[in-house]
């Protein structure tokens, strides 16, 4: 798997993401500066990592979505290339029109950092094939604006098309208000686009990929992508 990690000024989880990609795929990802106008030859996966692009002083991700490199990312996605956006990356993908909806301030108005449980809703996508449908995984969140919102039609379509891949839940998989940490519509933690090749999610699977660090529940996402690309090749 040849991956490219986008580096916008103010992004700060690019090193975490690069390490996870290296550990799971065995290949060092390319780090791509926001001012570039093209992606490296042969890129299989583009990742927009977490952080505070441009300080997020405007709407989160709004400025990064207009960076030169995002034109290349949009072209890559429209050719069917795989794109993953995590945390600020999710916000950037929403702002750039690659995913519907927006991320608002957390319902309790505070930044939250702790482990959450996610229910994997289906396993037949490149982004979830490393898991079983209904499986519950534990990964950390670290965000102030992760409260997913979209108009009713959009949410209905997301649900109807099975495009919600990850949802906040209890340790045993129940979806309820107590475990909906940021107030997201339908407890949404991660969604894909209509074509199914662009995923945005708030939690950080890249921080849970190593045994020695206590949890490897995030590995499945990256391992699934590797398996998907190997099969496609």
């Amino acid at each position: 798997m040849k991956s490219a990690v986008l580096v916008f000024p103010g992004i700060n989880r690019e090193r975490d993401m690069a390490r996870a990609l290296r550990l799971v795929s065995g290949r060092e990802p390319a780090m791509v500066w926001h001012a570039e106008t093209s992606l490296p030859e042969g890129t299989d996966l583009v990742v927009a990592p977490g952080g505070f692009s441009y300080g997020d002083y405007l709407r989160c991700g709004a400025i990064a979505a207009r960076s030169p490199v995002m034109d290349a990312v949009r072209a890559f996605a429209s050719d069917g290339g795989l794109v993953l956006g995590v945390c600020n990356g999710f916000q950037i993908l929403c702002e750039s029109g690659l995913l519907p909806g927006i991320l608002m301030r957390n319902a309790r108005l505070r930044f939250i950092c702790h482990d959450v449980h996610l229910r994997v809703e289906r396993s037949d996508t490149p982004f979830t094939r490393g898991y079983n449908a209904g499986q519950v995984i534990r990964v950390p969140v670290a965000h102030g604006e992760g409260n997913y919102a979209a108009d009713e039609d959009t949410v209905r379509r997301l649900e109807g098309d099975g495009r919600v891949l990850y949802r906040y839940c209890s340790a045993s998989g129940e979806i309820d208000d107590t475990h909906n940490i940021n107030g997201a519509a339908q407890s949404i933690a991660g969604i894909i686009n209509e074509r199914g090749n662009v995923l945005g999610m708030m939690p950080h699977p890249e921080n849970h990929v190593e045994d020695t660090m206590g949890c490897t529940d995030g590995r499945g996402l990256f391992a699934g992508l590797v398996a998907h690309l190997e099969r496609a090749a």
Binding site: P9, G10, D16, G51, R110, F111, C113, G144, M213
Partner: protein, 736 residues
């Protein structure tokens, strides 16, 4: 020599915080009246915050050397060797007064300042910690201050991208009018690529880097060197505004130009901004500095030389550049969208010359700005000795079980989760032990090494007996690092005290420092950096003496660290260290018996070392399954914390007959640890500890879902946890 500057009058001198005899010193040094800009420069260099004029004489007594110390106090941060060509760079600093006036910005710029201190030396920050002291929860401002400070600490660190992995939060009425915000940053560097402030070479370009200069923070350091009064709110304009985005860019750009070999010397602009940084570079390098303020990037028009020299705008650096690398360095800064301007050069004259609009606004002897700063040996009186509280004379008002439930649901001992969950403590992917334990453990790059990090002090002990309190702060940091399996290496100290012009306050300062020095010496735990914050006083009432100690320790293998959670049922629980049942200054005596009284527990440094070395050995040998040091709240509180962590309870023997039960369970005797082991290792552990004369007894077994003491009501862990976890969120939500 200067245009449009006000004449120097005694009132103007006084408003710059300079005493008449200090002004006399200036006149003598210059042989003439200073210009307005020069007066500003003197006030910036000679205030307490920058000159350490009241504390310097006593700081000399601190041990600062060890074979692993690469750089001790006096630079931007301390540096220690952790082997394999790697070094750890760290320091702690206060931002107390600004945080009281404007909690969010005060806290952000405190974090920003300390991060800059660390990456100025060539290190990438890998962790932050903090120690926060607030007023009584019932004080009308406390909730607002907690909310703002916590949001500010998080707002900066989260955006900058450093995990905030540990700290302390306390409440006490003595901080009502003067909270403490102490921030610590820890960075990782190559041991042979540390950067310093001392300039070298004549006619070398001096470059200004980072954000533009504005009118914010003028006289911030001077404000930090005076007491507060009811008009403190009016000082809001002296508080700077932080921009973590700019700092993140500055970090990346600085590390890039350092890697490319462009840098001769580098100094961040912190307190007293351009003045302090330029003087430091010149004075340390034995060179003069010539600055041309017309080249300084400014945010607003019409700024005077005086304003530019005293601005504390954030996210700025001053650097001496290798002339042949100018183009390369500039390109890197432009790429990151940051200002890069040559604003002066080094000179052979040893003068500090400031030019603006064609005029010389200041022309001062550079070394004397530092070396001739006033030095005071202020009068100090020792604190009165307080009586030792006899445990049998204390009348307990609650049963042991009730007291435990109550203590865990009170401000001092309750969970601080509400605070640290607002800090990103996992970014970097290296946080092995998260907040809530004895010390945080952070992996060094891809391992196998790890760092154990902690911040500690017990201000009520320092108030009651400064010497023992100073010892205890260091000993507890050492113990916390030990309890996770770390080898304690060095500390940074952040010394927060009241007005030094009061002999009682100065006595507390002197006493605490002596205690710190004694403990550092006995534990081979030198001071490598630090900060002094005096005048923490409002309307004549000082804070509790609060020398925060930030400790750094090393684990050779981070996977072998110990944590406090009970791991399984049926593990024997051992108490290591001697217990007398010391109730003086204990949380129990204060919060249950309503008596904030007595002498604090004495610290036997030899016992600390002996007991700690044994515990660390057990962790490294793999015999300890859970470890926790016994501190605030005593034995039973420590046991409850170990039980609540993973929901495994404990069945405990009754207190020994020789000690009254409440003193046994809640006394705060020092040098103690709770360790659990496998049943099969019990005998060999006893034999080993006996051989080295370390007191050790079995006090119970892990298991069940309660804290069950023989002869007492068993307390359900769910009930305990509910109280423990809910006090702070309820308080912040305004629930009664």
């Amino acid at each position: 020599m200067s245009r449009n500057e006000p004449p120097i009058t005694p009132e103007l001198v006084a408003s710059h915080g300079l005493k008449p005899d200090e002004y006399e010193r200036i006149l003598k040094l210059l042989g003439r009246t200073p210009t307005f800009t020069e007066l500003g420069i003197f006030s910036a260099m000679w205030n307490e915050h920058c000159s350490y004029k009241s504390s310097r004489i006593h700081l000399r007594g601190l041990p600062t050397k060890a074979p692993w110390v690469i750089q001790g106090p006096g630079e931007n941060a301390g540096v220690i060797d952790i082997g394999d060509g790697q070094a750890v760079v760290f320091k702690m600093e206060s931002h107390n007064h600004p945080s009281y006036i404007e909690p969010y910005q005060g806290a952000t710029t405190g974090v920003g300042g300390i991060l800059r201190d660390v990456f100025t030396m060539g290190a990438r920050p890998i962790a932050c910690l903090n120690a926060l002291s607030f007023g009584d929860p019932s004080h009308p401002k406390t909730r607002h201050l907690v909310s703002g400070v916590v949001a500010g600490v998080g707002g900066y660190g989260n955006s900058f991208g450093v995990p905030t992995v540990g700290g302390q939060v306390r409440f006490h009425t003595r901080y009502d009018g003067n909270i403490l915000v102490n921030a610590m940053a820890v960075g990782l560097a190559d041991a042979d690529k540390i950067f310093y402030a001392a300039a070298s070479g004549v006619n070398m370009p001096i470059v200004y880097l980072g954000s533009k200069t504005g009118r914010d923070g003028i006289h911030g350091a001077t404000m930090a060197s005076a007491e507060f009064d009811d008009d403190s709110e009016e000082k809001r304009p002296t508080v700077q505004v932080g921009d973590p985005f700019a700092e993140k860019l500055l970090l990346e750009a600085c590390l890039e130009i350092m890697a490319k070999g462009c840098v001769v010397a580098i100094q961040d602009m912190g307190a007293a901004g351009l003045t302090c940084s330029a003087v430091e570079m010149g004075a340390k390098g034995d060179l003069g500095v010539d600055l041309d303020l017309d080249s300084v990037p400014t945010r607003e028009t019409g700024m005077s030389a005086y304003e530019m020299m005293l601005s504390e705008s954030q996210e700025r650096m001053l650097m001496v550049l290798k002339p042949e690398k100018e183009k390369e360095a500039e390109a890197i800064f432009r790429k990151w969208g940051l200002d890069f301007a040559i604003v002066g050069s080094t000179t052979p004259s040893r003068r500090f010359v400031v030019r603006h609009g064609g005029d010389v606004m200041a022309d001062l002897p550079i070394k004397e700005l530092e070396s001739e700063a006033p030095l005071y040996d202020r009068p100090h009186v020792p604190s009165p000795q307080l009586p030792v509280i006899q445990a049998r004379e204390v009348a307990p008002s609650l049963t042991t079980a009730d007291a435990l439930e109550k203590l865990l649901a009170m401000p001092e001992l309750c969970s601080k989760r509400w605070v640290w969950e607002q800090y990103d403590h996992v970014i970097g992917g290296n946080t092995v032990q998260r907040p809530g334990g004895d010390a945080a453990v952070v992996r060094v790059e891809d391992g196998p090494k790890g760092l154990a990090l902690t911040v500690d002090v017990t201000p009520r002990y320092c108030e009651a007996d400064p010497f023992e309190g100073g010892k205890q702060a260091v000993a507890e940091a050492w113990r916390n690092i030990t309890a996770v399996g770390g080898r304690p290496l060095a500390i940074t100290d952040n010394l927060n005290f009241g007005n030094p012009e009061r002999p009682e306050n100065m006595g507390q300062f002197v006493g605490c420092l002596k205690g710190i020095a004694a403990a550092c010496t006995a534990l081979d735990f030198p001071v490598v950096s630090g900060n002094v914050s005096l005048y923490n006083e409002t309307n004549g009432r000082g804070i509790l003496p609060t020398p925060s100690i930030g400790g750094v320790g090393l684990l050779d293998d981070f996977t072998k660290s110990a944590s406090l959670a009970f791991k399984a049922e049926g593990h024997p629980i051992l108490l290591i260290g001697d217990t007398q049942g010391w109730l003086g200054q204990s949380v129990y005596l204060r919060d249950i018996c309503r008596r904030e009284e007595g002498a604090p527990p004495p610290v036997d440094l030899a016992a600390e070392r002996r007991n700690g070395d044994v515990v660390r050995g057990m962790i490294h040998a793999g015999t300890a399954t859970a470890v926790h040091d016994v501190s605030d709240g005593g034995l039973l509180v420590a046991l409850a914390e170990m039980a609540m962590a993973d929901g495994i309870g404990a069945v405990l023997d009754a207190a020994p007959a020789a000690i009254v039960p409440y003193a046994w369970w809640f006394g705060e005797d020092q040098a103690r640890y709770i360790v659990t082991v496998h049943e099969r290792d019990l005998l060999s552990v006893f034999t080993k500890l006996k051989a080295v004369n370390v007191p050790c007894i079995q006090i119970g077994l892990t298991g069940g879902h309660e804290i069950a003491i023989a002869g007492e009501r068993a307390v359900d862990l769910k009930v305990l946890r509910r109280g423990f976890e809910s006090w702070l969120p309820d308080y912040m939500a305004g629930k009664p």
